[in-house]
Structure formats: C-alpha cells, structure tokens
C-alpha cells in the first residue's frame, strides 16, 4: 500500500520498509532543537540522571530567543545555566541570532529529516519537506540521551493548492483561512501535507509561514512537497536534501481538501483563538494600542518589505506603538542594506533586536490591562501578549502595518 510523506520519513527513521498511520515506532532523530523556554528544566533533569550522557552532540542545537536580551534576574539564571551547559558539552549554541525556527531554517534543516524541537512551532520545518514536531523537555531529554524516541505515525490531511494568491493577499491569510476552516483541533494528532500546482506560486518565506502555524490546528507536523524552490533554497544555504519524498498515488489520506488560492482574502483572527477568523474588513475600525510586525511566522525580509512599502513616507499613528522585530540577524542585516530599517524608524516604529518579542508575552513590548494588539505573531490566546485581560488580533504584515498607521484595524487598501 502507498505511503504518505509523513509515513515515508518515519519509515526511514525507524529503519522499516513500510509503516502506517496508527503504528508506534522507535525512530532515530536527525536533529534536536531547544530554546530558553524549557532548556533550564531539561538541564536540571539531565543532572539528576544516574548516568548522564549525550548520544550525539552534533544533533543538538540550542537557541536563546524567547527572552533575549535577558529581562530579569530569574531569566538570567536560566540563560546562564543553558549557556554554561552548552559550552561544557560542546553544543551548538546561538544567542541573539534570531527566533529559533528562522535560525534553524537558515542554518540547519534539510528535506527528509526527522526533527524534535522543544517548541510547538517546530512544524515550520515542513517548508523544506522535513518532519518537525514540537515536544516537551522530558521527550527532548530522552532523545538527547538516547538519540531516539517513540512516535505514533500520524494520519494525514492533504491540501491540494491551485491557482495563485491575489495581490494584497498573503500566505498568512491562507493559513489563517485554513485553520478557520478546520478548527483549532481540526488536525489534532495529524500531519498536514501541502502540494499541487499552487504550491509553486509560494516562495520559501510563504511556505514557512504556512507550515509554522499548522500546530494552531493541532497538527503534529506539516509537510510540503520538495520542488525546485526547495532545492534552490537549500543550495543557496549550502545544504543538500537527505530525502525528497512525495506521497504515493495510492497513499491514504484522512481527508483531502482542494484550495483555490485565488479565493483567499485578507483575514483577521479575533481574540482569543487562532481559529476565530473573519474577513479583515469586518474588523476595520477596531481600536488598537500596539502593532507588532515580527515572529517566526511573519518576521522575514519578505514581510518587512511589505510593511516598509506601505509605511514609506507615512507615520505611525501617535497613539500606537509599532514594534518591528526582524526574525533573525540575517533578516535584520538584509533589511538594513535595503534601507527598510531606516524607513520604519523614519515613520516612528520601534525597531528591536531579533527575538520572540511580544508574540510570546514575556519579553519586551507586552501589553497592559484592556490593551489591544494587532500582531503577525503566532497566537492570540487570552493574555498571550501580556495582561490576562488584554486582546490580540492576528493578521498579515500588510494589515498590521496599515493598522499601525491608522491607529485602528485597517486593511492596506485603506491607506
């Protein structure tokens, strides 16, 4: 019987010729990413092991991105623990290089790999056809010590994309639309696989944005078919694919969706759920206090270009704080060379160093009681961006920038 992409990657990692959804297998992991959200706890557990050991230190990548630069003495203690351990054990370590998933995409991930990341948005790696999945620190520690883990082979939801997104509509609108359609647990325990002619109209930045957010529908992983765009991206970053799998013609999907990209419209996800999506026009005029352009979902150079083009020659509304946070140092430097940072600063935006920022609500830029944020971040859960009684709307870089200019939710065509 045919296999899906997810089944093929797991079969290869398990050393089996065939696996099927519902099986549990022991797999060999290719890469293990962890950040400052949980690594301090991983280290504590590691130190309590009877025989602490690391199976293969070359598989480990540790990235300080959630609270960088450090914002309190408690965080400093957690960071120091992580930094010292990485140095002592020779673990590849980044601090200030950017949001973990962007750094992983720029420097490490390749097609066909099976990757555990101690962060839910690890499913972003599917943009290059890698099986990335979020785990907790106990799972991470077990894999760090043994090089292996157990995995339940997921069923797959297949998304056939056709056509192309209209001008002013972005990959962010596409994935928010899909999450709205299938719901916050619509892909729970499943893989979301994307293919079809329409995929070829999405560049790597678009693909990362789509895969990264699939966990908001509950997905275990997201996977995109490897094509020329993938191979060019890997080549430009000095990497070769491990495997280039596509699903077999007779692979079994739990459900297949046909998506015409031309039907997607600008979307806003309202508080407090990512699947609470409406046409952006329905939110026009909603009061905001802060706007955020950044995150592993939408802080790449392509997103900053969209914002800069809209705001060039205009000003941020005087009652709004507009935070612009490039997703990585590489993105930041590219934005500098293109004059984009200058454009944002000229307009009155607050440009910050690459980090997770207000997207995770415990770094610079958090919002206060009853305040409203419009964001290109990953989540709009209650209190996600700061005070428990505050509100987050999710939208594209264009809608967020337009809103920063207007001082209320606005779509780009209103600027």
């Amino acid at each position: 019987m045919g296999m899906t992409m997810a089944e093929k990657i797991i079969a290869a990692a398990a050393g089996e010729s065939e696996v099927k959804a519902g099986d549990i297998h022991t797999v060999e992991l290719d890469r293990l990413m962890s950040n400052d959200g949980t690594t301090h706890l991983t280290i504590d557990m590691y130190n309590q092991l009877k025989e602490p050991r690391i199976a293969d230190v070359n598989k480990l990548v540790w990235i300080v991105d959630h609270n960088v630069p450090c914002d309190s003495a408690k965080t400093a203690a957690s960071h120091k623990k992580m930094r010292d351990f990485a140095k002592e054990h020779g673990i590849r370590f980044y601090e200030g290089a950017g949001v973990c998933h962007q750094v992983m995409m720029e420097k490490h991930v390749t097609s066909g790999e099976l990757i555990f990341g101690a962060d839910s948005h690890t499913c972003a790696y599917g943009a290059v056809g890698a099986f990335g999945t979020g785990v907790g620190c106990t799972d991470y520690l077990y894999a760090m010590v043994t090089g292996k883990s157990w995995l339940l082979v997921p069923e797959t939801l297949r998304f056939n994309l056709k056509g192309k997104l209209n001008d002013g509509v972005y990959a962010r609108d596409l994935i928010l639309s899909i999450i709205g359609m299938i719901g916050a647990n619509g892909a729970n325990y499943m893989a979301m696989e994307f293919g079809g002619e329409g995929l070829k109209t999405l560049n790597m930045s678009d693909r990362i944005a789509v895969c990264n957010l699939c966990v908001e529908a509950g997905a275990k992983t997201a996977l995109m078919e490897v094509d020329e765009i993938t191979l060019e991206y890997l080549k430009a970053h000095g990497r070769e694919p491990k495997y280039c799998f596509v699903s077999d013609g007779d692979a079994v999907f739990a459900h297949t969706y046909e998506i015409d990209l031309a039907t997607i419209r600008p979307i806003v996800a309202k508080p407090h759920f990512v699947d609470s999506v409406v046409d952006a026009k329905e939110c026009v005029g909603t009061h905001i206090d802060e706007a955020f352009l950044g995150s592993c979902n939408n802080g790449r150079i392509e997103d900053l270009r969209v914002g800069a083009q809209l705001i060039k020659g205009k000003k941020v509304h005087p009652l709004v704080r507009f935070l612009v946070v490039p997703a990585s140092a590489e993105v930041y430097r590219q934005a500098l060379s293109e004059g984009i940072i200058d454009t944002f600063m000229e307009a009155g935006a607050i440009v910050m160093n690459p980090n997770c920022s207000v997207c995770w609500g415990s770094c610079q830029g958090v919002i206060g009681e009853n305040e409203v944020l419009i964001s290109t971040g990953t989540r709009n859960f209650k209190g996600r961006a700061g005070h428990k009684d505050s509100f987050v709307y999710l939208a594209s870089a264009a809608t967020v920038t337009a809103s920063a200019i207007k001082g209320e939710i606005a779509t780009a065509d209103l600027i």
């Binding site: 549990i24 408690k74 962060d119 106990t138 325990y189 509950g218 415990s362 989540r379």
Partner: protein, 155 residues
Amino acid sequence: MGKIFKFHQDVDTDQIIASQYIIYPTIDEMKMHAFESLDADFASNVREGDYVVASENFGCGSSREQAPAVLKALGVKAVVAKSFARIFYRNAINIGLPVIVCKDLYDNVNAGDEMELFMKEGVVRTGGREFECTKLPEYMQGILDQGGLIASLNK
C-alpha cells in the same frame, strides 16, 4: 475521592501556566500561578488527589512541559477531558500525570463535585454514577506505570 476543578473547551497552555512564569528556574516557583487567568484561587484551593475535568482539546498551544508539570506538582491526580491536544497529552504521560479521555463526564458533573478515577478499570465514579473512560494504549500505560519516560533511563 478528590474534588473536581472544571474548565471549558480549548484550554490552552498559556492559561495553564502563563509565559512570564515558565522561565522561572523551577516548577515549584511557578506552580502557584497555575490557571491564574481562569481561576486565581486554583493553586491555593487544589489539594493532593483532586481532579481537573475539561471539555474538548485540553492543553492546546505551546509545547511547554511546565503545563502538566505544575498540575502534577500541585497534586492533581489526573486530568479527565473529552479530548486532549497532542503535545500536552504526550508531555503529561512522559512526566507521569494520567490524562484520561472520557466523553460523558464533563456534561454530567459540576465544579466541586467529588469523583474517583479507577484507571485500570477505565471508569470514573461520581455521585453514585459511573462513566466509562478510554483506556490508555498499552505503550503509554507502560510509560505511566514505570513512573514516566525518564525512569527508563535510570534502570
């Protein structure tokens, strides 16, 4: 018997333990903030052996293991929900916190009711009634029985 603390559907991990606390050095330092946004008194009221009962998709959102860990540290005996989000479910099993799927319990109990979970039999008893639960797959029950995933590394 333990007391029921009842929560709605799509309870995300940010509500179980908010971002600003998860970077605290230890679980003990963060546990008093569990469910702070939904029930500010939860951490001080919950007792060893009490239960969390919820509707669909409990624990959606982030992979923070601090979410099941603070509940376990506060003495929660098990979380019984209509369904769980994937990462929370896996994390809970890995640290030895039972997570039990029971489709009918949520709509038939109130916060503050007393209940008892009989995991091996796969039933919950409360108010003279009995509700059937989905038994854990053998592999996962094995992890729970040995006291969590890390226990196997120390054998």
